[in-house]
């Protein structure tokens, strides 16, 4: 739930999603769900010459399982808060 909550706090910010098929798309984070499926608005492909495949796409739903990386706006990430949340999440007794 840590990353779900984290990404909810980033809604409205600009990110770059790099997919496992090497496609990179930038856009504004519109929403995220518990599987880390992500919806972006104002979508732009980073290398449109090489990847014209989705050039008329304006907003996109990306399945969480095909995401490799998400580049984040560093100024909108509270690293102190993240570390505390990680320690809390990981020390919780695990539910079987």
């Amino acid at each position: 739930m840590l990353f779900y909550s984290f990404f909810k706090s980033l809604v409205g910010k600009d990110v770059v999603i790099e997919l496992k098929n090497d496609l990179s798309i930038s856009g504004t984070l519109h929403s995220v769900d518990q599987y880390l499926n992500v919806k972006l608005t104002d979508v732009q492909v980073l290398d449109p010459e090489k990847y014209p495949h989705i050039q008329s796409v304006t907003s996109a739903f990306v399945r969480g399982s095909v995401i490799r990386y998400i580049q984040l706006p560093p100024d909108d990430v509270d690293t102190q808060l993240l570390q505390e949340a990680t320690r809390k999440e990981i020390t919780q007794p695990r539910k079987e």
Binding site: K20, I67, Y69, L72, V77, T79, L82, T86, I90, R94
Partner: protein
């Protein structure tokens, strides 16, 4: 009662009983993450979960492509590097995490 709760919290925070406890010790430290498809990341570990989803700061990614020389048939390893200030990494691509010592 409150003391007992604190006791449990401190022991679980310092003891190493399973692999993820070791990853926890690397929080706020520089780590090296080996990924699938010949990718390697170096950066500061800010967050992770049980899937090894992670957030790394000041990341350097190295992608190694292997080319074969057409004349000598030698394998040429070509590393390409890039810098990413803040990066979320999905855990399913992670092969291993290794703490980097302070000097490297």
């Amino acid at each position: 009662m409150g003391d007992e709760g604190d006791q449990v919290a401190t022991t679980t925070a310092t003891s190493v009983e399973e692999p993820l406890d070791l990853v926890r010790l690397s929080l706020d430290e520089k780590v090296c993450v080996k990924m699938r498809n010949e990718r390697e990341l170096r950066g500061r570990l800010h967050a992770f979960d049980q899937h090894l989803n992670m957030i790394l700061g000041d990341v350097e990614e190295t992608i190694t492509t292997i080319e074969i020389d057409e004349e000598t048939f030698e394998q040429i390893y070509r590393p390409t590097k890039r810098q990413i200030p803040m990066l979320f990494v999905r855990g399913d691509g992670v092969i291993l995490i290794s703490p980097l010592s302070k000097q490297s």
